[in-house]
Symmetry: C2
Subunit: 221 residues, 2 copies
DNA sequence: AACTCGCCGTTGCTTTTGCAACACCTAAGT
DNA sequence: ACTTAGGTGTTGCAAAAGCAACGGCGAGTT
């Protein structure tokens, strides 16, 4: 389950952007770092769990989810490789996670006790860059959540679907793109009923707004 | 409009927590800092505006809002004194704000060109504390957005209302509490129709789930 | 090959809820 | 004192969307 990490894999990660392998080694030498593997459908962290590590997706896909008492699942965010999560433990409000994290595919996650790094003052180049990176990442995670609420704030299902597709198109930089969700998961992401989603997608296609085939979508006009 | 800032006012702010007045002065001496006053209903920042300052609510109430083409207003978050906003400019994804900020009451906002502070390495105590603080604040803002999505992900209006009231009760630490929204604003915060909200609140009262009088609510049971 | 399981589309039904219109109230300004 | 403007509760109606059930399909397993 636990795996030694090769520093090589980390150079492309947003958290370590701008740091060379030597600098990454310097940072990691001061803390206990750990990579955990998860199988598809494993829970990485449960809502209510105590969190004491910053988590980084090395590869695979992780979903931030919230399940209610009835087992009704809502996907809050989809996290690809390089994503940083469980950052709420860096805040003062919560020491427990309010959401769950879930391996949507086989995944490797780097667990990093970041508190130590934070509190240790240092004016090394590596440390400064790392601090800048974490601030940027947190700000970006923020933006992503705001974008998500821009989907959810739409009053109609069609509005949500369209807002979502526009975001994916903007991400892809093209009117035609592939979405990372199955229909079931998309329904959970939009917090809508799956059958209602299928129905509304069909209507939008019939009206010539969009075209799609499996997970490939296109916004028409 | 622009006002000189007295350092005294900042000692209580989360961003400067743990810093004494001398240290705050040291930090501020390196950048141009500015306090702007806004009248109730003024826009502080418009969606699409270029952002180059971190903003801190000194006093008053600021709303993060998103308006669509039809003027339909959605309140994403309500920001009281001490709140930090417009932080997405610290990220790499956007240099423009994707949402608007709006003075819900007469307000004073501190504008702080934080990028300069970030990039200047320093191992002074003050600098280290400031970095820790900003990380904590960003993480907390994250948690708040996640909590907001926990309201919006509910499929029924009653679910949203109840989730919201539970959060307010948790914030207040009591079953009885005062909400900061008018009915109209609450509808915009929950992204629901105002009349439907009134109707559902009345039903929940009739069924004995909750009691309320103006803006004072109580969760029963 | 038979079977299971999970995902997908379809459809009928019912509830929810958005929308529009109206009347009332309060506060602020003239 | 009058007027205006904005917030609030109410209600009828129509549209939207959740729910449940079913059948088909494809992948993986025995």
């Amino acid at each position: 389950m636990d795996v030694r990490i090769s520093v090589q894999n980390l150079t492309g990660m947003p958290l370590f952007e701008g740091l060379d392998t030597e600098e990454i080694g310097e940072v990691l030498s001061r803390v206990n770092v750990l990579v955990k593997r998860f199988r598809k459908s494993d829970y990485i962290l449960l809502a209510g769990d105590c969190v004491d590590n910053l988590c980084i997706v090395i590869n695979g896909t992780v979903q931030m989810i919230k399940e209610d008492i009835w087992g009704d699942k809502s996907i809050i965010a989809n996290l690809g490789s390089g994503s940083v999560f469980a950052e709420s433990y860096l805040g003062r409000r919560h020491d427990r996670s309010i959401v769950s994290y879930f391996a949507a595919s086989d995944s490797e996650v780097l667990m990093l006790p970041f508190g130590r790094i934070l509190e240790t003052p240092s004016n090394s180049k590596a440390h400064t860059k790392l601090m800048c990176n974490i601030v940027s990442i947190l700000a970006d995670n923020n933006s992503k959540l705001i974008e998500k609420t821009e989907i959810l704030c739409k009053k109609t299902l069609r509005g949500k679907i369209y807002a979502y597709l526009e975001q994916e198109a903007a991400n892809a930089g093209a009117k035609r793109f592939i979405i990372p969700f199955s229909r079931t998961d998309l329904a959970n992401y939009l917090d809508a009923d799956r059958s209602a989603l299928t129905r509304e997608l069909a209507r939008m296609r019939d009206e010539g707004m969009i075209a799609f085939e499996k997970n490939t979508f296109e916004i028409l006009d």
